[in-house]
């Protein structure tokens, strides 16, 4: 993975010093909260319901065991022994005290990390395929380009105060596992007919209040011109993106308003001044960075039938089927450590689990991990012969639930328990759903199903691209949930359609059960839920869900269901056993 040189270290150290001084000036009231807010956001610090939340950047989702241990250290020393992995491949801590924040950044700097530009109206952490470098369907490893763009966008002087946040996502594989179509800019690293590397560039995708699938602005930007081309996109956006209404300030609105042709014309008009200029990437720089992402020293191994070596062990077989992914090198596999054990908050990991994951990475996967945008962890380079031992160790730490890609692999934002933007709680609903559908045979029979729960329209949990998407809405101070179906990520991305009137918390599991019933009745042999929805349209699903009244199961959320009726903000987070 990428290692800091003296320049990276120096800039991060100066950033920590800068922020330490900003915090000092805030605490002494030299800075007003209005002046400070923007500065703290650009260092990942949000003010949430209970405390400050710190979002730490995990560039393109890749981290070392030492960095994961640092998260455990932060969880223990500054937080409440746990953290939350996010859909942007970052990690968040929920109980931060402002005076501690500079010390945390200083601790992070010792392991070559920071929280720069994880929030604010600037270029955010660039997300990436979690199987970059190991996927069988990969054309080009995107990570060196992601690192080069990370450096270009870090402390970019012209783009720190954009109209709104700006998110890049990148893949280099045939299958898009990075949701590139729903980012402000989506990049697919490709090769042209001559075998040269370049970028297919999508622009103006996004979720939130106005979900839009990105449009191709250029089919092939040669890699040497990536920085200058992308800089022109962001410059045109900075100048012309709307600033009068924050809900219309994302680049997708600009592209819609002026049209892709006009937007492309403006970008190319700007680009002609910088194309071939000093910001053109050099082979030397690409090679320097790419040298950090060379393959580890794989042993020469043959593929083996791992399941056959453990006959009769269905738990292990289920795990192999769901959580183990093919690897481009024979004898190896990639393993997804599930952070979706029913009963736990999706994407949360305790300090103990973080340390365990770090240890597993060192024992089994060359000391590296990845964070997925579906809020799980990946050990990318595991010997097939080690899978059984790894499974046993992961099971001990509650990270081997065999549910990757299944209904209970729920993608969820922190929601109303933590987030001051939320209209409704996400985590308790995810827990209730997971509890209602905890039969593995049933889940495996239903098969691949993305269920995404966002507590508000900002769509941190990408509910628009869930096969089933749930959105928390506020109705006169009460929490309600809108249900959509037909959304999808990946190569055939689509935005889900709302099936009808919204539901109460206690109705949602029954609504899901009814959606699944239509699927089970109507599906062809191996058809996935999303494919059945696409074939039939959403009418039969809607008709069945609303055919008879759906009971509001008041017991579902447990004994403190009344808390759910209070509306935000809450005195106490409802869900977690850990405080």
């Amino acid at each position: 993975m990428y290692r800091y040189d003296q320049f990276d270290h120096q800039m991060v150290a100066e950033r920590v010093a800068q922020f330490r001084d900003q915090v000092r000036r805030r605490l002494s009231n030299e800075l007003t909260e209005d002046e400070f807010r923007v500065l703290r956001l650009q260092n990942g610090l949000y003010m949430q319901i209970h405390a400050y939340m710190l979002r730490i950047a995990v560039p393109y989702g890749l981290l070392s065991a030492a960095q994961m241990r640092m998260f455990a250290h932060i969880a223990r020393k500054y937080d409440r022994d746990y953290g939350h992995f996010t859909t942007r491949q970052n990690v968040q801590f929920n109980w931060i005290k402002l005076p501690d924040a500079p010390d945390i950044l200083a601790d992070l700097a010792t392991v070559e990390m920071h929280a720069t530009q994880t929030s604010g109206n600037c270029i955010r952490n660039i997300t990436c395929d979690e199987f970059a470098g190991v996927a069988k369907d990969e054309i080009v490893d995107p990570r060196p380009y992601a690192e080069i763009l990370r450096q270009w966008s870090t402390f970019h002087p012209e783009f720190a105060y954009l109209p709104r946040k700006f998110k890049f996502s990148m893949t280099g594989a045939m299958t898009d596992r990075a949701a590139i179509a729903v980012h402000d800019v989506g990049l697919q690293v490709v090769k042209n007919a001559q075998g040269e590397v370049g970028f297919r560039v999508l622009v103006g995708g996004g979720l939130g209040r106005t979900p839009v699938i990105g449009t191709e602005i250029c089919a092939f930007v040669p890699w040497q011109h990536a920085i200058t081309y992308l800089e022109s996109i962001v410059r045109v956006y900075n100048e012309h993106g709307r600033r009068d209404n924050m809900y219309k300030a994302r680049i997708k609105i600009l592209v819609k308003e002026i049209g892709i042709e006009e937007f492309r014309r403006q970008v190319e008009a700007d680009w002609k001044f910088t194309k071939d200029g000093p910001c053109t990437l050099t082979v030397e720089e690409l090679e320097r960075v790419a040298a950090c992402f060379t393959a580890p020293s794989y042993a020469t191994l043959a593929d083996s039938d791992v399941a056959a070596a453990q006959p009769g062990n269905t738990a292990f077989a289920n795990w192999l089927q769901r959580n183990v992914k093919p690897h481009k090198v024979s004898g190896y596999a990639s393993v997804v450590l599930s952070l979706k054990k029913p009963g736990m908050a999706p994407g949360d990991a305790t300090a103990q689990q973080m340390e365990a994951a770090a240890e597993l990475a060192e024992r089994f996967s060359f000391g590296e991990l990845r964070i997925t945008h579906e809020q799980n962890l990946v050990l990318a380079d595991v010997r097939q012969a080690d899978l059984f031992t790894l499974w046993q160790a992961a099971t001990e730490r509650d990270m081997a639930t065999p549910n990757i890609g299944l209904l209970t692999d729920i993608i969820s934002c922190p929601g109303g328990d933590f987030c001051s933007l939320a209209n409704a709680r996400s985590i308790p609903l995810a827990r209730a759903i997971a509890a209602c559908f905890d039969n593995f045979d049933f889940l495996h029979d239903i098969g691949e199903l993305d269920l995404n729960i966002s507590g508000c329209v900002n769509a941190c949990a990408h509910h628009h691209i869930g096969h089933i998407g749930i959105l928390g809405v506020d109705k006169d101070g009460e929490e309600w949930y809108q249900v959509s179906i037909g959304g999808a990520q990946g190569n055939t991305s689509s935005i889900g359609k709302i099936i009808g009137k919204s539901f109460k918390f206690g109705q949602i599991p029954e609504v899901i059960a009814r959606l699944l019933q239509v699927y089970v009745d109507e599906r062809f042999d191996d058809e996935r839920f999303i494919d059945t929805v696409r074939r039939l349209g959403f009418e039969p699903f809607k008709a069945y869900v609303y055919a008879t009244p759906v009971e509001d199961d008041a017991e579902l959320a447990g004994p403190i269901y009344d808390l759910l009726k209070q509306g935000t903000p809450y005195e106490l987070p409802y869900y977690s056993p850990r405080f």
């Binding site: 002087p157 012209e158 720190a160």
Partner: protein, 170 residues
Amino acid sequence: MIIKNKTVVEDDWRILRLNEQDAPDSVSVPSGKVIVPLKVWQAQRDTLKTRAELGVWLESSETAEDLQGDIARFQVIAVDFPRFADGRGYSIAYHLRERLGYQGELRAIGEVLRDQMFYLQRVGFDAFVPRPDKDIHEVLKGLSDFSETYQASVDQKVPLFRRVHRGVKV
């Protein structure tokens, strides 16, 4: 007092801001060193162009190209930041310097605060009028927050990867 060339100096330019009742074509431009709004320059160009000393300032919704062909007439061009978080001024400055080749004084006015100074200087501002309630010497410190930068901009035309030999020293 303003910040210019990284020091605090006296300054005798006046910035003309229009009140609601002022019209660009009829507002009276005082004599002496005045920085006029772009709209006033455009409306009173014929009389203003005879002045030996003149400055112009742009709102964040205006563009550098509005001054194309005229930039050599001004001793000062200023860009207004109505709010420090309105980042259009950064691209306006970039355009003035890089696209129009403006070499004269480029002054940041409006909500100019310490914590934006480093980036402002990078995109080509060389003069700064801090918001009046701020201690100008404190604001000045913001110019030296960082000693190195990754990417090119107006102040440094060549990105780090072309300027230095990079890599982890073993």
